[in-house]
Symmetry: C2
Subunit: 356 residues, 2 copies
């Protein structure tokens, strides 16, 4: 082969490395060097095309540039570039909540085997479609119905059940599959952070295994980068060999103060970037200020009644955003307005599966 | 620049990718292609030179080759190549246990401020150097002394205290620093697994943050790949800003059945490779059999009274190895004999810091 052919082959191999393996830690300088060598030009396109110009977009771009540029006063080594995102209402529409919808459907599916549920809350309300009750379901009820439907299930069955449900379940308000209701600007932000050496973790109040069932396909976030609410598992010997079974014990509700503690448990480093959308994210947002590095915390404000929801009019126990909105100015948290900062909300149908 | 120079520069960049970024997922075919293009030859040296030829070394090599070779009947996609290692007694000498030694030294350091400890167990035994008591210290006592010494400490202070202690603390029996008493064959094994696309997690009964303080320097394992015993953290507002504080609540003792549950919580995938050395690793070893893939579980048997220890003569609550040794044949677990399978136990002093 000629040197020219070898160079071309080399470029292909190097490009494959970048795309498949190295993208997270790749530096802009290396991209430029590769492009130069290949004799092509790289168009430095806007990495956040679905974000409108404004304070939020500027804050993100300035922060990422300042921590990822060697020599910058705010430079942060790649190993410490940790970003955390809430899921429901931050990356994905949350009215109704996807995990709750899944649990409610399981109750309906399992009901024929449980006649006693007709006289027991929260099952009775779910089966009779008592919207007022369901809209204000609390943690005790959630625990009860979650354990009733999934305790004693092995992990593989749970995963299969979740994946099957996700493939078809539709949001009744927005008239689309739940998994198609991710926010396009946030998908771009996940790419942008990873392209600048960040490790991105999902920190959700949802069941960690339920969220794992879609986190990679939708966001490119692998199972070991998902931190969530959890039940305890027990390894049991079955005729088919050892099986991990869901036990009837909740280990952690990953909301409120627990988020900061569980982030530390799972990651061991303090995130320098956090994105949430409710009071349940307060400790996660505040945690970014606990170390010596520059940091950025953002709050998505659902103020777009036309394209999605305006929560001030909506309200639910899952989506309260009072305290962190009040605290934002004094804490230096950046409020993102869905109405003003997102020029697109949901991906166009043909690009919906391109999150990974 | 000439094409030849460009090719050379390209090779350097590609090599940097490999070394810094892509090593974990790199395929043998790509190494060969790169080597060919650069006109250099790759010497296929033994990646496990400190392992003697024998059943254990063969089992490791055959397993890794079979799961990492595309087209092999036992091929496992890189994303699912998860390996878990116990720490104490598996990667590092554990007599005495490094985490316990750290806690005991903290009790001694803090004693002047706590006159009441002279009349209270386990503090009294520690301060009076009552070896018989300390040798059989149990979980309740461990919790008590751990919380007494570290509850209310902020995370950064804890990390600094641990790092400072690790820099000088010496194993009184083996007459070397604890951090120099890692097993050279295991360091090679960690490299070998990562070079074949494995993600390596440390799954330890030790305090997760204590073990994180040395896991990267000794093993190349970053903080977010350490699963351990944990106390709950609380984010507090202090005059210096938000601080993560260690609370007086133990969240999880990561031993026995808890290991399997915590592995699933932290990783979300079933490991296909596990290495332990005591009955506390039983659930972790058994877990490898819970999924559809080929798997390998190994047990390090401390049978080398000359170069390290023979536990049959030694014994302690931390190092019991009865049940898993009995179960090994029926479970298909590979027993590794330190005496026969390790040709070197500890690294030579000048190479001690090369684990990463």
């Amino acid at each position: 082969m000629t040197e020219s052919e070898a160079l071309k082959m080399f470029f292909d191999i190097a490009l494959e490395f970048m795309v498949n393996l190295g993208r997270r830690a790749l530096r802009g300088t290396s991209i430029a060097a590769l492009a130069m060598l290949a004799g092509t030009s790289v168009a430095f396109a806007d990495p956040l095309p679905s974000w409108n110009a404004g304070a939020a977009k500027s804050a993100i771009e300035m922060f990422v540039r300042s921590v990822a540029t060697p020599g910058s006063a705010q430079f942060v080594p790649p190993a410490e570039r940790i970003a955390v995102f809430d899921n429901d209402g931050t990356l994905m529409a949350e009215e109704p909540n996807i995990n709750l919808a899944f649990a409610l459907d399981q109750v309906r599916d399992d009901a024929p085997a449980h006649p006693e549920w007709n006289n027991e809350q929260p099952f009775k309300a779910i089966l009779q479609n008592d919207r007022a009750y369901v809209a204000h379901i609390g943690h005790d009820d959630l625990t009860k119905l979650y354990l009733a439907t999934f305790a004693g299930t092995d992990e593989a069955t749970f995963e299969n059940t979740a994946r099957s449900w996700l493939g078809s379940a539709r949001n009744p308000i927005l008239k689309a599959r739940y998994i198609d209701l991710v926010y396009q600007p946030q998908i771009e932000l996940l790419h942008y952070l990873r392209d600048n050496g960040f490790k991105v973790f999902l920190v959700t109040g949802g069941d960690v295994d339920f969220v794992r069932a879609f986190a990679f396909d939708l966001y490119g976030i692998p199972p070991w980068r998902v931190v969530g609410s959890s039940i305890r598992f027990k390894l049991m010997q079955t005729q088919a060999g050892p099986e991990l079974m869901r036990s009837p014990t909740v280990d952690s509700f990953n909301i409120g103060a627990a988020k900061a503690s569980n982030i530390h448990l799972a990651i061991g480093l303090t995130p320098i970037f956090a994105f949430g959308n409710s009071d349940d994210d307060e400790s996660m947002l505040a945690l970014t200020g606990a170390r010596r590095y520059a940091h950025l915390a953002l709050i998505l404000h659902h103020d777009d009644g036309k394209r999605e929801f305006a929560y001030d009019m909506y309200g639910s126990p899952f989506t309260r955003l009072d305290k962190v909105l009040d605290e934002a100015p004094s804490m230096g948290w950046q409020v993102v307005s869905m109405r003003n900062d997102f020029n697109t909300v949901f991906p166009k149908p043909e690009s919906a599966a391109q999150g990974k």
